[in-house]
């Protein structure tokens, strides 16, 4: 019923506007085309300058309302992201100045040079000097931005430092899986044809590769130590996904068949970020940033950044996936088969869900 009234009201507003519009056309015919045109001109000239003033105030007000919510006041949560923030501020400053100047000129000229009886337009078809000025100045400004941009770009896309923590992250409709290389620091090979062999091998790891035997598989939440570079090796199983890390100012696509990488250095632990943002529920989220199907919006992963000691402790508590899939190879399970529930890892839960 409410919807019905909304429609009725909308239609009535339409009719009223239309009647006013029709009446005003008759009035303008009576008044004479010339005169009504001049009147319209005055009104619209005034509206344009008002729009400029209110628009600039509105832009300021919008910034006032939402700047705090962009997480820029808190700064980047990764060391590499700091440079991106700096570049962003430089770009905002430069484009902001150009924005204000050009918009003011546009609406000011429109207002100032509106049609007047005694005004004659100025025949001014071209001026080489002026045109050269506004070709060179943008070119110089852009060169500066390009140079700084590329410096950061090559840093971020360059090789990760040798001591980086390596984590493999695999996207599939609609969740993320993580794999740590274990003690040997080498990830076991992946062969998509090994999917579900044996049953529960959801990451299609090739367990004939000895490097895979100590690999640790965890679902959805990743642990990282603070202050140490982290390198992601990114896979996708079905369609293209994207590892989006807004707090670290990074993202990278996950493409089936083509592994990609990214690296960064977390600056603050999750607990520190809770204080910095004043949000007790703060959590580093991994958003899928590439359209991947109907559950795209719910493809959420999380990262818990902890101190180096906590990270080591956490890591030592994880059980390699090899042992959960090949129970007979697990030294612990062979020792105490009666007490398996205790040692069930997140990964095992995950596999069971499959």
């Amino acid at each position: 019923m409410k919807d019905f009234f909304v429609v009725v009201i909308a239609v009535m507003i339409f009719i009223i506007i239309f009647q006013i519009a029709k009446a005003s056309e008759y009035v303008s015919v009576l008044k004479g085309e010339e005169k009504s045109r001049k009147q319209n001109n005055k009104i619209n000239g005034f509206m344009l300058i008002t729009f400029l003033v209110l628009g600039l105030i509105g832009a300021w007000y919008c910034n006032h309302l939402y700047y705090g919510k962009t997480l820029f006041p808190q700064g980047s949560a990764s060391v590499e992201g700091e440079e991106i923030d700096t570049m962003l501020y430089v770009t905002i400053t430069i484009t902001g100045i150009i924005f204000v100047i050009t918009q003011v000129l546009l609406f000011w000229f429109a207002f100032k040079y509106q049609e007047k009886d005694n005004r004659k337009a100025f025949y001014f078809p071209h001026n080489t000097k002026l045109e050269l000025i506004w070709t060179t100045i943008p070119a110089i400004v852009l060169t500066v931005l390009v140079v700084f941009g590329l410096k950061h770009w090559f840093l971020i896309t360059g090789d990760a430092p040798k001591d980086a923590v390596v984590v493999e992250i695999t996207g599939h409709q609609f969740s993320w899986d993580m794999r740590y290389p274990g003690k040997d620091s080498v990830l076991g090979k992946i062969d998509y044809r090994k999917y579900n062999q044996p049953s529960g091998n959801s990451l299609a790891v090739d367990f004939e590769d000895p490097a895979s035997w100590d690999d640790i598989h965890v679902a959805a939440n990743m642990y990282l130590p603070v202050g140490r570079p982290a390198k992601f090796v990114i896979h996708a199983q079905d369609v293209i996904h994207d590892v989006g890390l807004p707090h670290f100012r990074l993202k990278m696509d996950a493409v089936p068949g083509i592994p990609t990488t990214l690296w960064f250095t977390p600056k603050y632990t999750t607990e520190e970020m809770k204080v910095r943002t004043g949000n007790p529920n703060f959590v580093y989220e991994i958003s899928c940033d590439q359209m991947c199907g109907q559950g795209h919006y719910s493809m959420r992963g999380t990262i818990t950044v902890v101190s180096e000691a906590e990270y080591k402790k956490w890591l030592s508590e994880q059980k390699p996936e090899y042992f959960t899939l090949f129970k007979d190879k697990d030294p612990d399970a062979n020792k105490a088969t009666s007490d398996t529930t205790k040692t069930t890892t997140v990964a095992a839960n995950m596999s069971a869900a499959h």
């Binding site: 509206m47 484009t95 001014f124 506004w134 943008p138 068949g257 083509i258």
Partner: protein, 601 residues
């Protein structure tokens, strides 16, 4: 460039068949349906485009309801959408279908076919002084292929598994695998076939526009005397002819992957628990093919708007366009660069960083010709004597939006910043302002300006002014705050943000944006009403040249017949921008140069 020798014999041929429209009888079918008159074909494109714009706009209203009110239900949605909105709540799959179709419809069917289809057809012969297009037959086919594409695309809305839902960029493997998404079943095949038809239409049109402009200019109309609209439409057609075939090849390869078991874009895939046999393809290859069209497409949409805005700004400032040659040169530069920047859509695909850096450089280079155009438009207004006709207001609005949206392109084109901003609402804000709304403003400017020539009547002025003011204020209210959501990293194409700790604080803003979007959409309906009402009941045009403009279309009768000029085609003696010259308000192009005239151009 200034050689016009070849046009002379065409013109003399044109003279011999003057008045020919009186000689043969026109039936309803040959006049309104299978018409070969470029003006009627233009109107067909325009009206089909308007219908598509209403559909595409309405889609956005529905998905904005979901974004603005994720907790609410709307029972009437179930009435119109059935099982796609059970209990009045949009199904995520159909949400994505709506997003996909909104993009496809507005980018291709409205702002490509509806915009250049309308104005290239309408203005090219009228402004260069030709009786019709080089091939009226191909021109007619161009519309009917577009019509066919439209029918197929509309039919995909009614198949059981729904229309394509992988985004308008249809990246495989999502779009290639029926198991990955409902929309990738039959809906995707229909999408691809419809786009293939669309591309055929666009090529037939484009070849015709280029041929006509190069060969059929009237006597005296050298290339450098052409109005900027014609230059813009010329470059648009060149872009389309050279880039659309690449998308066609991509679409055909994708059809093969979908239906014939090839592996152009597929490799190492496990979907719905099944291991696919495809190996050796590259999902990224498709993105290269897509964006090789996709980026020029942005300029296919934008250039006609630039051309029309230039013309309308000059006419209503009563001043020549400032820096004509620089305007042509910058459009030429944009055309060339448009082909060399496509990978800036792919900075985060794992692209080779060195290759990425080349694309950064070329992308930011586009800002130079764009800046030249903006400053030239501003200088055109400076010391003018400006008339705020509705067309002029929309042209000024176009410049404002082009500045706002163009500047954010400097953020996105710089790869280091793009890593953070890619696929967030910042991108949505950027391209909606710079190519969506700005091009719509160019299109509206064109419609208001040339409506008297199209239909012999005026649109209602009061409705036009309401339309302008609500639309420009609404456009900024909708898209400006989205920059902030994007800076916070809020991703595009999310059905619901309420479970995300990082993004849910924008819930109130999303509701506000949805509300404004609905108001703006309602006002567009007011424009549509004005458009159709005024064809029949609008104030009649009583003078040949209501805007006191210089270009040739205003030398034709108020309602020109097939052939445009009843007598001889006028000869051109000057460029199109002699406004305020030697104390004269305006001097049309067909007026011979006087002995006492100062030599400026």
């Amino acid at each position: 460039m200034s050689s016009v020798a070849s046009t002379h014999d065409v013109v003399s041929h044109g003279h011999s068949d003057a008045h020919h429209e009186h000689h043969h009888h026109e039936t309803f079918i040959s006049k309104y349906v299978f018409s070969m008159d470029h003006k009627m074909i233009a109107k067909q494109f325009l009206i089909t485009g308007i219908i598509w714009a209403i559909i595409g706009g309405f889609f956005s209203v529905i998905f904005r309801l979901q974004l603005g009110y994720p907790e609410s239900t709307f029972p009437w949605l179930e009435d119109i959408l059935g099982h796609w909105a059970k209990g009045g709540k949009l199904h995520p799959e159909f949400y994505y279908a709506l997003v996909t179709m909104h993009g496809t419809v507005l980018v291709f069917f409205v702002l490509t076919a509806g915009l250049s289809g309308t104005f290239a057809n309408f203005l090219i012969p009228l402004q260069i002084g030709a009786r019709d297009m080089a091939s009226p037959m191909l021109n007619m086919l161009s519309y009917w292929f577009f019509f066919l594409a439209s029918i197929i695309m509309v039919s995909s809305l009614f198949v059981q598994t729904g229309p394509a839902s992988g985004g308008w960029t249809i990246y495989p493997p999502l779009s290639a695998l029926g198991d990955a998404s409902l929309g990738s079943k039959i809906g995707m095949d229909l999408w691809l076939v419809a786009m293939a038809m669309f591309i055929v239409s666009s090529l037939l049109g484009g070849l015709n526009y280029i041929t006509t402009i190069l060969n059929m200019r009237t006597k005296g109309m050298s290339m450098t005397r052409m109005p900027l609209t014609i230059w813009a439409l010329f470059f648009t057609a060149v872009l389309g002819v050279l880039s659309f075939p690449v998308l066609l090849s991509g679409a055909i390869l994708l059809l093969f992957d979908r239906n014939l078991g090839t592996s152009f874009f597929l490799s190492d895939i496990i979907v719905a628990g099944k291991i696919l046999p495809n190996e050796g393809g590259s999902a990224i290859l498709f993105q290269h093919l897509f964006w090789f069209l996709g980026h020029p497409e942005v300029y296919i949409i934008l250039l006609p708007a630039m051309g029309m805005a230039s013309e309308i700004l000059s006419v209503n400032s009563r001043k020549p366009i400032f820096g004509y040659m620089a305007m042509v040169g910058s459009m030429f530069a944009i055309t060339i660069l448009a082909f060399l920047v496509w990978a800036h859509h792919m900075f985060v695909t794992g692209l080779n960083p060195f290759l990425g850096s080349v694309f950064v450089l070329l992308t930011l280079l586009i800002a130079v010709p764009s800046a030249i155009k903006v400053f030239n438009w501003l200088t055109t207004l400076w010391k003018g004597n400006i008339r705020f006709t509705p067309g002029m207001l929309f042209a000024i609005g176009f410049v404002s939006l082009f500045i706002s949206g163009g500047l954010t392109g400097i953020f996105l084109g710089n790869s280091a910043l793009d890593i953070h901003l890619h696929d967030t609402y910042f991108v949505i804000a950027h391209f909606h302002i710079v190519m969506g709304v700005a091009s719509f403003f160019g299109m509206f400017a064109g419609i208001y300006h040339w409506y008297p020539k199209m239909f012999g009547t005026y649109l209602n002025n009061t409705l036009a002014y309401i339309h302008f003011w609500v639309t420009i204020i609404g456009a900024y209210l909708i898209f400006w705050p989205m920059h902030y959501e994007g800076l916070a990293g809020m991703p595009r194409r999310y059905y619901d943000y309420s479970n995300w700790e990082s993004f849910k604080m924008f819930g109130g803003l999303n509701e506000f944006i949805s509300l404004v979007a609905m108001i703006v959409f309602a006002v567009q309906l007011l424009f549509v009403f004005n458009f159709f009402y005024s064809i029949f009941k609008g104030r009649k045009v009583t003078t040949k040249n209501p805007w006191e403009a210089n270009t040739l279309e205003w030398t034709t009768p108020i309602r020109p017949g097939h052939g445009n000029w009843p007598g001889e085609i006028p000869e051109v003696h000057r460029w199109a921008y002699d406004y305020a010259k030697d104390g004269k308000d305006f001097i049309p192009q067909d007026v011979p140069v006087g002995d006492d005239e100062s030599k400026h151009h």
